[in-house]
Point group: C2
Chain length 195, copies 2
C-alpha cells in the first residue's frame, strides 16, 4: 500500500461519525440506494441500516461489492422491524422519520449533532405507519415549489449535508470518533479494497 | 380554477426568488436535468439557464413540457457562452462555478443571500475552462469520504438547499420578490398548466 493511500484511509476513518446513520425502509431502486450510499460516504457515515419487510433482501453488500460506495460502508440488513430497532436503540438516542404530515418539523429545526438515526421510506408509500409509531419524531425538508416531492436520493443528501454542516460547526470532524477496535478492523478491510 | 389552486399558485409565486439561478453547462443526462429542475422548483428558483456549446440544444422546455418541473420554470437556452453571460450579468452580480480545484472555497463559506448564479458542468468533464475564467469564483461541497464525487443532481440539491437555508434565515421568503409584471405573466401561464 502506498503512503498516499494509507494517509487517505486514515484521514477518512478519522472523520467517520459513529452517531449518525441512515435507515432505508423498503427502498427498492438500486440507483437510489447507491446514491444514498455515496452521500453517506461523503459526509462520513460508516453504518447504514437496510430494513426490508415488504421486499426481498438485496444482494449482499460488503467489502467486495460492486457498488462503489457500499465497500466503504458497514451495511446492516434486517427483515424484522423489531430486531432492527433494538439494534438502532443501542447506538442512537433518537430515531426520526421523513414523512409528509401535519406534525412534521422542518429539517432546519433539528439538532443533528446528537446521536440520531434518520429513516427514509419506500419510493411509493413512504415510511410505514409501523415505523412512524416506533420513531421519536418526524421531519420534512421545506419546499416552496409547485411540485411537492423530492427524489429520495436528493432528500437524503440534503438532510445528510445539513447534519454535516451542523457537525462541522461543532467540531465533530476534529477528532477520531470510531472506537479503536472498529477503526483497526475497518483499516484492515479497506487495505484490501480497490478504489 | 378552484380557489385552492389559485392560492397554491399565489403562494408559490410569492416565494419565487429573482436573485438565485442555476446554469447547466453541457449537462446532457435528461434525468439529471429533470432532477435539477425539481430542486429548483422546490427552493423557489424561477429562471434557469441551459448553455449547450458542446452538445445539441435540448428539446424545447416550456409551459407544455412533459418534464414535470420544467413547466413551472423559465428556461433560458443558449449555445453561445458570451450571450449567456451577458444575460446573466444583468441579473446576478456574482457567478460561481463548482469545480474541484485547490482555490475552491467551501459551499458553507458562501454568502448565498446576494444575487448569484451557480454553474454546474458536464457530467464527465465538469465546468469548462472558458467558464471558469469568466466566473467570479469557485466552490466545492466538502466531502470526507473515500469517493470524491457527488452526482450533479445531488450536488445541485445540496447547494440549492444551503441557499434556501440562508435565504430563509434572512427573510427572503417573507415578501414577494418577482416584479409585478413577471408575476402576472407567470400567473396567467400557470393557470393553464396541469399539475
Amino acid at each position: 500500500m502506498t503512503n498516499e493511500r494509507r494517509q487517505k484511509i486514515e484521514s477518512v476513518l478519522s472523520k467517520r461519525q459513529n452517531d449518525l446513520t441512515v435507515v432505508l425502509e423498503n427502498v427498492f431502486d438500486p440507483h437510489n440506494i447507491s446514491a444514498v450510499m455515496r452521500s453517506c460516504d461523503a459526509v462520513g457515515i460508516q453504518d447504514i441500516y437496510v430494513l426490508n419487510t415488504k421486499i426481498p433482501l438485496h444482494k449482499k453488500w460488503g467489502p467486495r461489492s460492486s457498488s462503489s460506495a457500499a465497500k466503504w460502508l458497514t451495511v446492516h440488513q434486517f427483515q424484522n422491524t423489531e430486531e432492527c430497532f433494538t439494534q438502532l436503540r443501542k447506538k442512537y438516542s433518537t430515531i426520526l422519520t421523513t414523512h409528509l404530515s401535519t406534525d412534521a418539523v422542518s429539517l432546519y429545526q433539528l439538532d443533528l449533532t446528537q446521536p440520531v438515526a434518520l429513516v427514509f421510506g419506500n419510493e411509493h408509500s413512504g415510511v410505514s405507519e409501523e415505523i412512524i409509531q416506533l420513531a421519536d419524531g418526524n421531519f420534512v425538508i421545506p419546499q416552496v415549489g409547485m411540485i411537492r416531492s423530492l427524489n429520495i436520493s436528493v432528500a437524503c443528501a440534503v438532510t445528510l449535508y445539513e447534519a454535516f454542516r451542523q457537525k462541522h460547526n461543532t467540531g465533530h470532524f476534529e477528532k477520531q470518533k470510531l472506537d479503536s477496535q472498529v477503526y483497526s478492523t475497518l483499516f484492515t478491510q479497506w487495505e484490501l479494497n480497490h478504489e
